[in-house]
């Protein structure tokens, strides 16, 4: 026989098909950009050796079952060292179980569900969690506007908005007393008509609306709110942070605020470089998924480099990588500086972004834990 060469394989578990293909695309593009960089450098330098790198991109079809299969396949068949993804908690939670069982480090860039990383030493994430972001938004509104009556509109059937809505409500009521969230309304994924909920919100006398929804829904919610005569501020979360929010929503969204990882318009340094490169290549400003995927994969790279040399035994190397990941301090990501907690969740700062009157994302304020 012949000895096989060691290739560092990075698995990407992304929803290329299914109901959120845009998310899959962002992850894929970010990963491919990273691979280009590495290939340009002639490989990944670990210790005193340069290793070739390959991406294994598996489609999880936005289904839990497929995400689990994809992880199993990448780990047992392809022999990946690290897995980046899945993005949604619906897939990340079960897939994380697989990664943990096989002792393979996995970083979900986007999943906010605590269960993803809970009691799973091998699973990490690159985004902040709801318990952090919810209060950030609540505090910001209180400090900025001094309002006392809040309304919330969120998607019950979706993990992320629901979690964030709950933590926001908790934080807001802590600040303003019980019943200060005067309307707590919901809808279901893929709904497009929110008139009933918005009518209720308007009727409740809320001074502003917090809606932690994805960009396609934001456009509809904001427009419909205006059509129904609700002209108070509408506040959002990091899921607004896609260029499409503004392109879909248009002037209706100008002047609104949301909390996020980074502000594209005022971005500097590595962040700006990433945004420009991505935009040049794919024709649009990357959204938070792409940015977080980029950070996740760079985190993985950092950890691999930090091992100081690979043994060639994939099982041992995976454990080494995971140990290095857990040790990373103050990693300078394009979405902020990160340090992992015990659970594998990052401690990072949030920024408040304002959508300018030109429709750009301006840095407004930074909030750190």
């Amino acid at each position: 026989g012949k000895k096989r060469e060691t290739i560092i394989k990075i698995g990407i578990n992304a929803p290329i098909t299914g109901d959120i293909p845009k998310v899959g695309e962002g992850s894929k593009y970010a990963a491919q950009m990273w691979l280009e960089d590495i290939e340009k450098a002639g490989g990944l330098q670990v210790g005193d050796k340069k290793y070739p790198v390959a991406l294994v991109i598996e489609d999880n079809e936005s289904k839990a079952e497929s995400a689990v299969k994809a992880n199993t396949k990448m780990i047992t068949e392809d022999g990946v060292m690290v897995i980046i993804g899945p993005q949604s908690s619906k897939q990340a939670v079960p897939a994380g179980g697989v990664a943990n069982d096989y002792q393979t480090p996995m970083i979900s860039p986007w999943s906010t569900n605590p269960d993803t990383t809970k009691d799973r030493p091998f699973v990490f994430r690159a985004c902040f969690l709801d318990p952090f972001q919810g209060p950030v938004a609540a505090k910001f509104v209180k400090e900025e506007f001094g309002y006392t009556k809040a309304a919330v509109l969120y998607d019950v059937a979706s993990d992320y908005p629901k979690g964030l809505a709950e933590f926001f409500k908790m934080a807001w009521e802590e600040i303003n007393g019980p019943d200060s969230v005067v309307a707590y309304e919901s809808f279901t994924t893929k709904d497009t008509d929110f008139s009933s909920q918005l009518t209720k919100i308007k009727d409740s006398g809320a001074e502003f609306l917090f809606t932690p929804q994805y960009y396609n829904e934001v456009a509809l919610i904001v427009k419909q709110a205006h059509e129904l005569g609700f002209n108070n501020p509408i506040i959002g979360s990091d899921s607004w942070g896609s260029a499409e929010t503004v392109s879909l929503c248009g002037e209706d969204c100008y002047g609104l605020f949301f909390s996020s990882h980074y502000a594209a318009a005022g971005a500097q340094g590595a962040t700006k470089e990433f945004i420009d490169r991505y935009q040049q290549k794919h024709g649009y400003v990357p959204d938070d998924v792409a940015a977080l995927t980029w950070d996740a994969i760079r985190l993985a790279q950092q950890a691999i480099e930090n091992t100081g040399g690979l043994s060639g035994d994939i099982k041992k190397d995976r454990v080494a990588v995971r140990d290095q990941l857990a040790k990373i301090k103050d990693f300078a990501g394009i979405t902020g500086n990160m340090t992992f907690t015990e659970e594998g969740d990052p401690i990072k700062c949030a920024v408040i972004v304002r959508i300018s009157d030109q429709g750009e994302y301006e840095f407004y304020k930074q909030v750190c834990p």
Binding site: V156, T192, G229
Partner: protein, 307 residues
Amino acid sequence: MAFFLQNVINALQWGSFYALIALGYSMVYSILMLFNFTHGDIFMTGTYIGFGVATALVALATALSWSMPGWLLLVLTIIIAMFLTSILGVVVERVGYRPLREAPRASAAITGLMIGIMLEYGNLAILGTQRYNFPSIIETVTYDVGGVFFTNKKILIVGVALLLMIALHQFIHKTRWGMAMRAMSYDFQVVPLMGVSLNVIAPMTFAIGSALAAAGGILYGMAYPVLDPFMGILLGWKSFVAAILGGRGSILGAALAGFLLGFIEIFTAMVFPSTFRDLIAYSIILLILTFRPYGFFGQAHSAQLRL
């Protein structure tokens, strides 16, 4: 009171979309006895076509530096898009349904479902994952009557839905063509013995249904201007619910059930915590069908599934 009226208006608009889409659905469904699972995706494609046509027309007008009035743009868009989409409908009939005319109905339902998936992913493959913003063809004007808000678009939408409902009902029940269509739903094999060509009636039915989907799609795009390749799925299934709730073969029933569905959804969200909306709305539908087993206007004999 304003709160209630506002919700009535909300429900009218939302219901008119269900009604509009259910009309098109019901055309094909009640005439050809097919679960037309493609309809939602034809609706989606129609919306995209409308988007393309409107964008092209605006570009053309700009190029010729001619300021086209909004209503003309709208009418032109609707007509062209209806025409193009009806061609799509005819093609779908030809490849997906005609070969299966003698087959179990459920098989045709599966091909329909599959053609729908192909349209979704075909769209995704061609246009990419980006979402598009439907151009605001006519200027939105918001009226505020004693705290009740509505826009000119809403009036237009409800009006068009009602108009089409009546027109289509008349067509199905008063014309020879309509009669032939209904006959076809009962026993297509002997329809030729009446001197009626199946290969004219069936494509025509699809064409009308698809054209309606396009009209609905454009209005929908104006009201909810975010286009997405999967936007037709849920609407398609819900219009399926409406078409059947109305009773097989009844165009009027389908449209009314569409409005009812809109009212149920809006008003359950109004009265109950909105997290329970689907739970309650669908329970109501389930109850309605349990106690009116053949929908509003359906007949018992029409329930048989051909296998």
